[in-house]
Symmetry: C2
Subunit: 202 residues, 2 copies
DNA sequence: ACTGACCTAATTTACGTTCAGTAGGTTGGT
DNA sequence: ACCAACCTACTGAACGTAAATTAGGTCAGT
């Protein structure tokens, strides 16, 4: 299993260390936020010295971007353009359990970068908007297909849905013992009833 | 208008400065988070030197608590035990416009204090839980009064509702131009339909 | 004399980053 | 077969700076 050539083993070791630094970063950022942690803490958790960490990443900020890149990549692999809203929401719920740090990191960083001048503001808000737009588009599709009511604004409902998701993320980060599955099931259920049924209202 | 007695005017000036420091703190914390700002920034915004600020508040942490106290007080005055869920949700929506910094500060600090060992963790999560419990209790009341369905778990629905609220807070901090009123109206509408109507389902 | 509201100028600490060096492995030329 | 130049993966110590806090002083009013 270990490569016979020592140089390859060396490279593998480096790559492994790099990976450890990234996951340590994700874990710590999720718990304490970016400004709440130091290179020293990350380094310790990854088993290196602060200087050793900077051998792999040129700066604290660049490390953050690398950690976010990993999250975005994971996130993109999870997206299924063909799935409907119910499936997509279910998928979101699953991600909480599967990759807690990756899910958590986004929300934490978002709140840390609310200011338009904040270093990650554009990157994060871009993702946020994209998610909302994608949900709105799903609703429009349903409307065009004739299975959803057409008397409600997809953009408005999309804001609600994304707010629910991010709010659940917060709730779960605060207390992982909440009945995640039930809440998602309940919400998606009422959402579908709301979207589908033709109602009589003034 | 200014008191004829200069000493009273002096005290009033101090109180005014104290107030300015608090509102500056709330504003800056909402935008940049607690760890994202310095005493110097707050002081500058309030028109004092850092040392001058510490004449009014003994430490950065104590200032934070004082700012939170102001928020909690405001929040408590807004709560109306007799109002039903729809009214309460409407009230929440109004608060966004009325006191943006007070509303925003809570969510930002919450994400900055996820860790159980974080200085404000207990204080903030306590408030969060209380809000959720209060919502759940409202639902139970409705159930006992016979106006709400009894086949759903108030605790589960309460998690959803509070998640929606905090999620909306995030969305609005990110982009205040979202159709806040419409989203709240839409959501409360579907919520009431969901809670009230007896449905046929297996 | 004493208090409240400040100020300027230290002091202290923490943290990101840089620097110089070590240990081991590889490569290409002779 | 050997050596010089270069690579990766680090470490320990030092540097620079930013930021919270403190010390000591000023000035106006009572």
């Amino acid at each position: 299993m270990p490569d016979q050539r020592p140089y390859a083993a060396l490279l593998a070791k480096g790559e492994d260390r790099r990976q450890r630094i990234l996951t340590a970063t994700q874990r710590l950022v999720t718990r304490h936020g970016w400004r709440g942690i130091t290179l020293g803490q990350i380094a310790r958790e990854a088993g290196v010295s602060p200087a050793g960490l900077l051998h792999h990443f040129e700066s604290k900020e660049q490390l953050l971007h690398a950690a976010l890149d990993a999250r975005d990549t994971y996130d993109d692999t999870q997206v299924d353009r063909s799935a409907d809203i119910v499936d997509q929401l279910q998928r979101v719920a699953n991600r909480f359990r599967e990759a807690p740090e990756l899910v958590g990191m986004f929300g934490v960083l978002l709140m840390e970068n609310l200011d338009p001048a904040a270093p990650l503001h554009d990157r994060l808000t871009g993702r946020y908007r994209a998610a909302r737009e994608s949900v709105a588009e799903k609703i429009r599709e349903g409307q065009r297909a004739g299975i959803y009511r057409t008397d409600l604004d997809p953009a408005v409902k999309a804001v609600e849905i994304v707010a629910f998701i991010t709010g659940m993320e917060t709730a779960w980060l605060l207390d992982p013992s909440i009945p995640l599955a039930e809440v998602f099931r309940e919400y998606t259920g009422s959402l579908v009833r709301e979207l589908s049924l033709p109602h009589d209202r003034r």
